[in-house]
């Protein structure tokens, strides 16, 4: 018990929570936008991989960090456009297409990696985002390290969550997106294009997922390796459900989740870690995700038209 308390008192623990949460926030917001508009995007895992790869390779090739993020965003949007084309106007199974996109994006990253670096055995490193120094706040004792030693990308993630909430609930665009996920007929009857809204949501959401992936190579690990996304995409899908399709709750879910993840890493170093195999600790995130799905299964307010294709003029 004292170990737990010690961990919670470490400033580095809280810094880790924010760091671990960041990629999840981007990708969860991306998935949330897609699902709010009525499209389940199972391409998320692969799109995160492609984001991690493209952002990293762009910087390795000499681009700046922010342009690198831009490249990842565009790569994600490109795969999003493919997903959207197949699932929205053609109305193909979102399960099959999503998994197909994940396989394609993952394979593309692997193929391109081998093309770009045929000989290397260990991937080269890039200079990642440095923690943003906020005058005053970052210098605070304890709090400065715990909360204000993050990179700009992390702050962008929090800003994004607020922006998604604002757009969804306060703007005409957000209203139209939510309606497209609830009853596309209502959207069409008001003269808006369901196809356009849904495709836009999937493309934009996929871009955000890719930025989430890019965070891994450009802010967290500074290098790319094949298994690095490691199910984070699937976890984000669980987080959307856990957050009841609301940006605020999903953000909270991502933080809570990151808290447990940061905790399990540190628990491995405690006496408990000596008796319990490390694999059990590593299972915690996946087990938590399943638990979150179970907890929310009864209450979740799922968008009514999620996974229902809309075909204008269907008879």
């Amino acid at each position: 018990m004292t170990e737990l308390f010690d961990i919670l008192m470490q400033a580095s623990f809280w810094a880790a929570v924010l760091r671990i949460a960041s990629p999840l926030i981007f990708a969860t917001m991306g998935e949330l936008i897609c699902e709010r508009a009525g499209v389940l995007n199972l391409g998320i895992e692969g799109i995160m991989v492609i984001g991690a790869f493209t952002g990293w390779i762009a910087v390795y090739a000499g681009l700046g960090l922010w342009p690198g993020v831009g490249v990842a965003l565009l790569a994600g949007m490109a795969f999003g456009a493919l997903h959207a084309t197949l699932t929205v106007p053609f109305g193909l199974s979102q399960h099959v297409v999503g998994l197909g996109i994940t396989l394609l994006a993952t394979a593309t990253a692997s193929f391109a990696y081998r093309l770009a670096l045929p000989e290397v055995t260990s991937p080269p490193r890039i200079e990642p985002f440095a923690p943003l120094h906020i005058p005053g706040l970052s210098d605070l004792p304890w709090l400065g390290e715990a909360l204000f030693s993050q990179t700009a990308l992390t702050w962008a993630g929090f800003g994004l969550a607020g922006m998604v909430a604002f757009v969804l609930y306060r703007t005409p665009l957000g209203l139209a997106l939510r309606a497209a996920g609830e009853n596309p007929q209502a959207v069409a009857a008001q003269g808006l294009s369901v196809t356009g809204l849904r495709m836009g949501a999937v493309i934009a959401g996929s871009g955000l997922m890719a930025v989430g992936g890019a965070f891994l190579t450009m802010s967290a690990f500074s290098s790319f390796f094949f298994e690095m996304v490691n199910g984070r995409g699937w976890i984000c899908i669980a987080l959307v459900v856990f957050g009841a399709w609301r940006p605020g709750k999903a953000l909270l879910g991502a933080l809570l989740f990151a808290g447990f993840d940061a905790l399990q890493i540190r628990m491995q170093q405690t006496p408990l870690g000596q008796v319990v195999p490390y694999q059990v600790f590593l299972m915690v995130p996946y087990l938590l995700s399943i638990l979150a799905l179970i907890l929310m299964s009864r209450r979740a307010e799922i968008p009514a038209a999620l996974m229902t294709p809309f075909n204008r003029g269907e008879r």
């Binding site: 396989l103 692997s110 193929f111 899908i237 669980a238 299972m283 299964s297 075909n311």
Partner: protein, 348 residues
């Protein structure tokens, strides 16, 4: 644009469009080869040669196809019922695990060893899928994510067991299980032929599943539940129970892939037993239009691509991941082509 159903699609449409999808895939492959600085035709030729160009290559393809038939069948059976089992990888490892655990028991009577191992494997795979399915039928938890997450959990469990309780004391520190005794290995189909009975078992399973789907009430129930759970429930079909039965069959089939790989090919369990056979099973099943006999054909095709790409990569220097890209592309083109056999795109 708008989609309009076609009442009676012509034969040309039903065959031509899938053929077009395959042609488009070949085109993509050529472009990728060119991107890698290789001659596209030569690359395709090398893939073909590597897959079926020699007796050795063909046998390698058959060996690689064996687990894919099992996982492809597992996915095909489940997807028929719209049960999205993306966890064939976990079920495969569960099967492999029990194969090793049972097979390495001392004093197992020779002729009983293999059936016992297979039975235990099937049971383990079925149980792994049972959890997500019960969560789905009882609490409405989406099975896509739970089965996916179980893949990661299972991988960690296997990693733990191979580093701990199941570790081979003679393994020189490598995380691998002890080898199966001779009696617990699947024999080869013929003396001197590098192909084991797992392949035959896979073919038998495919035929069995086909008969189940077309001739039994369970097959009828599974199709009804997949096409319309609402109508199935109204008609008195016990939807939950049908899904559970489907899950047991699907999980069991995926587990047989693990059994066949361990008992037929590898002889022991390692953490890299499967290079994603469970995930590839999805492609195999989709390319086969979920038809159990088609699964055999598409598993051979997919295995050929992998084996061929491996050997091509050594010769032409195009990354072997071209195989994964090819198959993912083929999957997406194929689902689109199949839609367009039933629907036509009209303006307005």
């Amino acid at each position: 644009m708008r989609l309009e159903p076609i009442a009676a699609p012509s034969l040309a449409r039903r065959l031509g469009l899938p053929a077009l999808a395959l042609a488009a895939t070949v085109l993509v492959a050529s472009a990728l080869a060119m991107l890698a600085g290789a001659d596209p035709l030569a690359t395709l030729g090398l893939i073909l040669q590597g897959a079926v160009g020699s007796k050795f290559a063909a046998l390698e393809t058959l060996n690689r196809a064996t687990p894919l038939i099992f996982t492809g069948l597992a996915v095909a059976v489940a997807f028929r019922a719209k049960l999205w089992n993306i966890g064939a990888e976990a079920q495969l490892y569960a099967g492999a695990l029990l194969t090793v655990v049972v097979g390495t028991q001392a004093g197992l009577p020779g002729p009983l060893a293999l059936p016992l191992m297979a039975g235990a494997a099937v049971l383990a795979g079925a149980l792994v899928l049972l959890g997500p399915v019960l969560l789905k039928t009882r609490m409405g938890v989406d099975e896509v994510v739970t089965t996916l997450l179980l893949n990661f959990i299972m991988a960690l469990l296997i990693s733990y067991l191979l580093e701990g309780p199941l570790k081979d004391p003679m393994g020189m520190g490598w995380p691998k299980s002890p080898a199966l005794p001779r009696d617990a290995r699947l024999p080869r189909l013929a003396e001197g032929l590098r192909l084991h009975w797992g392949f035959a078992l896979a073919l038998i399973c495919a035929a069995g599943i086909w008969l189940m789907q077309t001739r039994t009430t369970l097959g009828y129930e599974i199709r009804a539940v997949g096409l319309s759970p609402q109508a199935a429930r109204f008609a008195g079909i016990p939807v939950g129970r049908v899904l559970v039965k489907t899950a047991l069959i699907s999980g069991g089939l995926a587990a047989l892939a693990g059994f066949s790989e361990v008992a037929g090919l590898k002889g022991n369990l390692t953490a890299d037993l499967s290079p994603g056979f469970g995930y590839t099973g999805i492609i195999v099943a989709m390319l086969a239009l979920l038809h159990p006999l088609g699964v055999v054909v598409s598993a051979l095709f997919v295995a050929g691509i992998f084996v061929g790409a491996d050997s091509m990569s050594r010769a032409a220097g195009v990354p072997t991941y071209i195989a994964d890209m090819l198959l993912a592309t083929a999957l997406l083109f194929m689902v689109l082509a199949l839609l367009l056999t039933r629907m036509r795109v009209v303006r307005g």
